[in-house]
Symmetry: D2
Subunit: 103 residues, 4 copies
Amino acid sequence: MLLVEVSMSPFGKGESVGKYVARSLDIIDRSGVDYRLNPMGTVIEGEWDEVFAVIKRCFTRMSRDCNRISISIRADYRKGAKGRLTGKVRSVERRLKRRLRTT
Amino acid sequence: MLLVEVSMSPFGKGESVGKYVARSLDIIDRSGVDYRLNPMGTVIEGEWDEVFAVIKRCFTRMSRDCNRISISIRADYRKGAKGRLTGKVRSVERRLKRRLRTT
Amino acid sequence: MLLVEVSMSPFGKGESVGKYVARSLDIIDRSGVDYRLNPMGTVIEGEWDEVFAVIKRCFTRMSRDCNRISISIRADYRKGAKGRLTGKVRSVERRLKRRLRTT
Amino acid sequence: MLLVEVSMSPFGKGESVGKYVARSLDIIDRSGVDYRLNPMGTVIEGEWDEVFAVIKRCFTRMSRDCNRISISIRADYRKGAKGRLTGKVRSVERRLKRRLRTT
């Protein structure tokens, strides 16, 4: 499975793009994929086709009223691995034997 | 202030790099900067010099025993803005009038 | 159309991953999409479906013998824009009234 | 040495940000660092301090008249390696025994 962090913002809509980000999160949240939102993007866990289908829906929606869009996607594939939305952070905390800031 | 997400991993140390990631988090956590760890990286809030000083310390430590290192950094600068480690997520939730998955 | 820069590397295959990068470039070069290779990635120009279909083929090939893969994708969508694989660099050079280093 | 690809753009300045990108390239080109411009960013080769000093100068200049700035940085460190601005592409071409599109 893949962990995929995505960030998508329009240019030419002013400095505040929260309205457009919220629409993407609405799509992601309703899609049924497992995800976690953080201050710089949204991390989705799933197989290639399901993750990129959701990202494409966010892009299609945004491109309806935004003429220029910047997208950043980083993916970490690990064969057979699941539950890494919570597992990777826990693993780091176990190594350090203390809690880290996560929310 | 800046929000800066950083992810740093060695090549040539096998598929599991958690040991090296934990060392970076130890440096970040003890440094005093405000940060949040997520499954794909660590988001730090601060001014340019303080954030990049911490990132450089992580790199210097990792390069002591790793010959090849891949680093990804994404920054979002907003003049005068503070508290965005929690504020950006809250702002999206307010627009959607519901809680999103964040931890 | 989109400009999409992609970089894809396996973990756990040692420090030198050129063999795997070359396989991806072979797929991209034979696919018929317009692209430019640079020292940090490959920039492809096209519509969403055609670009991501090629990237998925690179991923599918790499995942046949690599258990962990790191992928970075950055996209710049601009409605109606074409020819930006060469046009964006030319535009910067025109503004500065001199040639820049590009190859 | 490091290969560092940087891309820096302002939000809130409209869809066309070429004017601001050109100012960064002017700084990079005059700085004396070795670099290559591509359609999605600029790849700089150098040691950590020299590369990030140049990037900081681009940021400082842009933040004088831009209130919101998005920055993407990807770095590939390889101990003892030099000349990779041209060497990495050549290496892929040698493996495939043919020229690829690069300019």
